[in-house]
């Protein structure tokens, strides 16, 4: 089984890297681009189990390590 976790800054948290990327895109002529947010994707294999069980464990991994709940949100996909 595979898990794919998307981690991103919560809306309303200043994303300075996103702003830098946005500025660079604007500088290259893509001036309509707005609200750039830069996040992370973390993928891994885990033991075979029900999707529900896997999701529950991966959610806990997100809370404990993969994301910082103070500033980040996340989305878990079990493949």
């Amino acid at each position: 089984m595979k898990a794919v976790v998307h981690v991103f800054l919560k809306p309303g948290v200043l994303d300075v890297q996103g702003k830098a990327v946005e500025g660079a895109l604007h500088g290259h002529g893509w001036t309509d681009v707005g609200n750039v947010r830069v996040g992370k994707v973390i993928e891994f294999e885990l033991r075979d189990e029900t999707a529900t069980a896997a999701r529950s464990r991966v959610e806990e991994m997100c809370v404990r390590l993969l994301a910082n709940p103070v500033i980040e949100g996340w989305r878990v996909e079990i493949v």
């Binding site: 948290v13 890297q17 830098a20 404990r64 390590l65 993969l66 910082n68 103070v70 500033i71």
Partner: protein, 220 residues
């Protein structure tokens, strides 16, 4: 005074902290590797030093916060032992939940390495009592992710409860409410981004960090 400096893979200010503690307080200082599951007995202060624990991978301090030694550091903090997290150490304490808030990338996107002037906001903590009414201190910053963030309710609580210890006189990194250092609600766990371990002797440019270690000595 008995102190321990925790060494994570990637810590680089551990020796500076040891030397600073020895020279300012005469403390007996042990270096404790992050995989240890026991701390020396009778500690008065545990220091989590600056550096790049785990290369700052994933998030600064995120993996270090799960190191085996942190179970003991947490237990010691719960017993009232003094804990000071400096720079990467502050990041680790926030990730470990021993202090509120989180560190983000500096708002100007640049690594900042310079002396900064701090306001000593709370003179009555275990870490600032020896400043003797001195309102300002100069210490050195060296970090990329020193932008302190917490939600408004947490910030209001920190300010209301006297948990803000140091503020930047001129905010270099976007930290909320100009916060440079905080303590927990019990007053025994301190986190600060500037380095007292780089400002403990005049030859270093400032000796204003010495009084922080001496405050802990006086509290022992």
């Amino acid at each position: 005074m008995k102190a321990a400096v925790v060494v994570f893979p990637g810590s680089n200010c551990d020796r500076d902290c040891k030397v600073a503690l020895e020279r300012t307080t005469g403390a007996a200082v042990s270096m404790v590797w992050h995989m240890e599951t026991e701390l020396p007995a009778g500690l008065d202060l545990i220091v989590l030093p600056g550096g790049f624990a785990y290369g700052d991978y994933l998030r600064s301090g995120a993996m270090a916060a799960l190191s085996p030694v942190m179970t003991e550091v947490r237990a010691a903090a719960d017993r009232g032992v003094g804990v000071a997290g400096i720079c990467n150490g502050f990041q680790i304490l926030c990730e470990a939940g021993l202090l509120p808030g989180a560190m983000m990338r500096n708002v100007g996107l640049k690594y900042i390495c310079k002396p900064v002037e701090l306001e000593i906001v709370n003179q009555q903590t275990r870490f600032t009592a020896a400043y003797g009414g001195k309102r300002r201190a100069v210490m050195t910053l060296g970090n990329n992710d020193g932008n302190f963030f917490a939600d408004d309710a947490t910030l209001d609580q920190l300010e209301g409860e006297g948990q803000v210890v140091f503020r930047y006189v001129s905010n270099p990194n976007g930290s909320a409410r100009d916060i440079a250092g905080i303590i927990n609600s019990s007053g025994n766990v301190l986190g600060m981004m500037p380095h007292p371990d780089r400002a403990f002797e005049p030859e270093l440019g400032s000796a204003d960090g010495a009084m922080l270690f001496q405050s802990v000595l006086a509290s022992v």
